[in-house]
Symmetry: C2
Subunit: 125 residues, 2 copies
């Protein structure tokens, strides 16, 4: 496989707080996001923290999706990384942002596997 | 927990090809890297692709470490993301680069959880 990849970093603020603390829901949202973008799911691992917060990853054939949620801050830190040019990681990132009802989203897309590159500024939406 | 985090993106080139295709070794390197940096390991999930390549993640209390390896290109795509300021993600990233015998390393550190920020250029070593 070619090393070229696209890595979307999405900072989701002002999310639905109860959703950010629901591990099973987040896992379903992430699997749905992967499938919606056309990715093939390989491994799924999620962890619920006490007293609150969820971390998890979906490993796809084309790389990964991760989340770290901070319900107490209404914040979720998202990464969607897809190798190749068949899949658009923004499709999955948008699905996650919509599902978590984020009202303030910052994203940046980092090219991977292509040598030194300049990373653009965050795109605040 | 504070939302502030540090995310090191490391592009490792010219690695030891046989190590890049050894899933069990990579899993051990990643767990060791997490522990060396002082992180607490929560979940481990790795996947071996046919005919070659390994993807995997170590979820730590402080966020995650991921890898996607491309033995046929001598390349490994690494992310080390740590929340808070107790742990330096560069310690884990350096351990991984050394263990995989990378001869050309590009890294960039992305601040997370702090709102819109400008991301620096890759640092080629």
């Amino acid at each position: 496989m070619d090393t070229m990849g696209r890595h979307v970093i999405a900072e989701l603020w002002d999310c639905n707080i109860s959703k950010l603390n629901d591990m099973n829901l987040i896992e379903q949202i992430f699997v749905d996001a992967a499938l919606k973008s056309g990715a093939e799911v390989r491994e799924v691992a999620f962890h619920k923290f006490a007293p609150h917060g969820v971390s998890g990853v979906v490993i796809i054939s084309e790389s990964h999706l991760t989340i770290h949620s901070f319900p107490e801050h209404g914040y979720a830190s998202i990464d969607v990384y897809t190798c190749g040019d068949r899949i658009d990681p923004n499709v999955a990132a948008q699905h996650i942002a919509d599902a978590l009802e984020s009202k303030t989203k910052e994203t940046v897309e980092v090219p991977r596997g292509m040598g030194p590159v300049e990373v653009k500024k965050y795109n605040v939406l």
